[in-house]
């Protein structure tokens, strides 16, 4: 029975080791590292080839000039990594000094509510950031004590924005005899009938539950087109109760169902992702693509035809929002440097680099942009912000909403579910989510 005794000794040893490790983890906070004093760590996830990436490369340059004695560690990570990790990373001892994070109640709101981010309200008013980040662009920079967006302290500063538009193939439009972009929804439907008569699918769409966002954007664009500011804000910021059986939800969803029936968005969307919808448009198989400015650079590079963009004709509000946010971790050792960094990213030099490369800077000057299409893109964005006509993305308000909406979009696109069935489910899901969000 010697082996049994050995085993017992082993088990005891392992238990003691495990316990001591656990205790060390609990008590180890006293020696929290403040040894990173002269290195300034920036963690972000923008692809260096994009407008934002190029703008920030410029910002690093300027920042180094302004702070010659600081070593800048500019780290590249991924959107998914920050989304999954931020909570763990920022609770640890070794936190970055400034971090890019995703907006919304489920992401940024959680970080703010758990005290992992430094409130920026004082800096915002002192440095005048609220003059650059205004209206709908500021909505997801502020979170209340429950982590709900819309009001409360500032926790993040966006540099750029995004909005949803139709990219259209001018050659296909010409062939179908369409010379002007319609100005209202009826005109838009008539135009799509013309395209259908030519045997062309009007809108390139997708409804896969994995990354097939186009149908959701068509649906919410239709709701936004008929909605007013208060109706969207009630829905988005969990204020007054939302009745999904009333307009704009009822009419928007009914129209969406009709568009599916009429074939405006194509067939067999259940398995398509946005990438495939984009390729279908670029191959000339479809007349329009609904997407945000995220694919603008790619379409500029890859389209073999003449193209343009417009937003939903006759719409009250247009889908869009501010971009990702800069935040300062509560455990950051270099908070003043972090504020200087955010200030740098909002400076005209950086903002105009973003604008010229097809990004949508919040404080840029469109007249500095030479390329006509890029300037029009930027000008339309500024117009929407000035008119307070941005309706955000529909999945922001309650946790788990994206998956819920996506699976229903797929069901509707496959014609397994009609508008009223969807709206009923939506009401139940939203109300339940709201209850858990607003104690």
């Amino acid at each position: 029975m010697r082996s049994t005794r050995r085993l017992r000794t082993g088990v005891v040893a392992v238990t003691v080791l495990g316990l001591s490790g656990f205790l060390a983890a609990c008590g180890g906070d006293s020696e929290a590292g403040d040894n990173s004093g002269d290195t300034f760590t920036i963690v972000q996830y923008e692809d260096p080839t994009t407008a934002q990436g190029q703008g920030w490369a410029k910002a690093v340059e300027i920042f180094k000039e302004d702070h010659p004695d600081v070593t800048v560690d500019f780290q590249q990570t991924s959107f998914d990594a920050v989304r999954q990790n931020a909570k763990i990373l920022l609770a640890g001892n070794d936190v970055p000094d400034v971090i890019e994070f995703n907006k919304g109640n489920a992401d940024g709101g959680q970080l703010a509510a758990q005290g992992l981010l430094e409130p920026l309200t004082d800096e915002v008013s002192e440095r005048g950031w609220d003059e650059k980040v205004t209206g709908p662009m500021a909505a997801f920079a502020r979170y209340d004590e429950n982590g709900n967006a819309g009001e409360g302290e500032w926790y993040g500063i966006p540099n750029f924005g995004e909005y949803v538009m139709f990219y259209y193939n001018k050659d296909v439009f010409e062939k179908a005899g369409i010379t002007e972009i319609p100005t209202d929804l009826d005109g838009f439907e008539a135009m799509m009938d013309k395209l259908l008569a030519q045997g062309v699918t009007p809108i390139s769409s997708s409804a896969s539950t994995s990354q097939g966002f186009n149908q959701m954007w068509v649906w919410y664009s239709l709701v936004s087109a008929l909605a007013d500011r208060d109706q969207i804000d009630d829905f988005m910021f969990l204020r007054d109760d939302v009745d999904f059986s009333a307009d704009p939800w009822a009419e928007g969803t009914e129209t969406f169902a009709q568009w599916i029936d009429k074939g405006y968005v194509g067939k067999n969307l259940g398995g398509l992702s946005y990438e495939q919808a984009t390729v279908n448009f670029l191959r000339g198989n479809t007349a329009m693509l609904i997407w945000n400015n995220g694919e603008f650079a790619r379409i500029t590079k890859d389209a073999s035809f003449d193209w343009g963009t417009f937003t939903m004709p006759g719409a009250n509000l247009v889908m869009g929002s501010s971009g990702h946010l800069w935040g300062v971790p509560a455990k950051s050792d270099n908070k003043d440097l972090a504020y200087d960094w955010i200030e740098t990213t909002l400076s005209p030099e950086v903002q105009n680099v973003i604008g010229k490369n097809g990004g949508l800077p919040l404080a840029g000057d469109p007249s500095q942009i030479d390329d006509e299409r890029v300037r029009a893109l930027s000008e339309r964005f500024n117009e929407l912000v000035d008119q307070d006509a941005i309706s955000y993305y529909p999945d922001y308000p309650v946790p788990g909403f994206l998956d819920f909406i996506q699976s229903n979009m797929q069901a509707m696109s496959n014609q397994n579910e009609n508008a009223s069935e969807y709206l009923e489910k939506l009401q139940a899901f939203y109300d339940e989510g709201k209850e858990s969000q607003v104690p």
Binding site: S3, T4, R6, L7, G21, F22, A24, A25, G28, V43, Y45, E46, D47, P48, T49, T50, Q75, Q76, T77, S78, F79, D80, A81, Q84, N85, I88, L89, G92, N93, D94, N102, E162, Y274, E275, T278, V279, L282, R283, G284, W291, N292, G294, E295, R298, K301, D302, A303, S304
Partner: protein, 300 residues
Amino acid sequence: MSIPSDTALSRSRPVRPAEKRRRRRTPREQLTRWGVLAVVGLMALATALPFLLLVVNAFRSGTDYSTHGPLSWPEAWTLESVRGYLGRVDYPVALWNSILISSVVAVVGVVLGLLAAYSIGVGRVRGGGGLLAVLLLATMLPQEALIYPLFYGAQATGTLNTVWSVIIVFSVLQGAFATYLLSSVMATVPVELLEAARLDGANRRQILVRIVAPLLRPTMGVLVVFFFIWTWNEFYIPLVLLSDPASQTVPIALSTLRGQYSIDITVLNAGSLLSLLPTLVFFVIFQRTLSRGVTAGAVK
């Protein structure tokens, strides 16, 4: 997870052909054999197809992909995407990290498993079955449930953001699986063999090194290969424990290519291909020693 290892393990048992004598086959039999060949060929093609697509789309330009789609033959072969990938990601560093982590884990995991399995499988300790169940549980737990303790453990030991945190975690996790598997294989080793060795004056260590380990070599070889590949492909735990780019592995470097609203498909393909090649090379090299090990075991 255990399906591939089961099929690989079954090959370590000698298989005797059902019929030794040769006889003429009827035309009908001939036809069936050709039919089977055709079906197997088609299945092989279907298996290879995704890989071929990956290669085709890794060596074409983004514009070509966008205008002709993923299924067409490229207009021109280009290294544009490969260059794009290497320009965006520090591939040599990630490659080195991945090779280091996967190799160390593969070897340490199997050695740990062998030692632990020896005490359970041959030593037949009391409660061995319960221990195995606990170890199996460790491999079945979703990694999300483990991540907080692992993160704080790595932080307390100062291994956070170094490859060692991941090496320790996966050595233990894979070691648990190896223990489970090796101890059940060890239970099939004839007791007479061990007793004979003991009568010849071999002590426990000698029995392990001279008798048991050689008998289990084929199984351990298979485990090394699988542990290497599984660890190579691990994503979630390395993602959390290795946030510093200097310690990142290949799959994590690959994930930095994906944005929220845009994907550069050809660059992603080129990156995937470059990430996949090392495991492929490893597998091809070890496949040979593997089959040699299998036959060596079978003769015994």
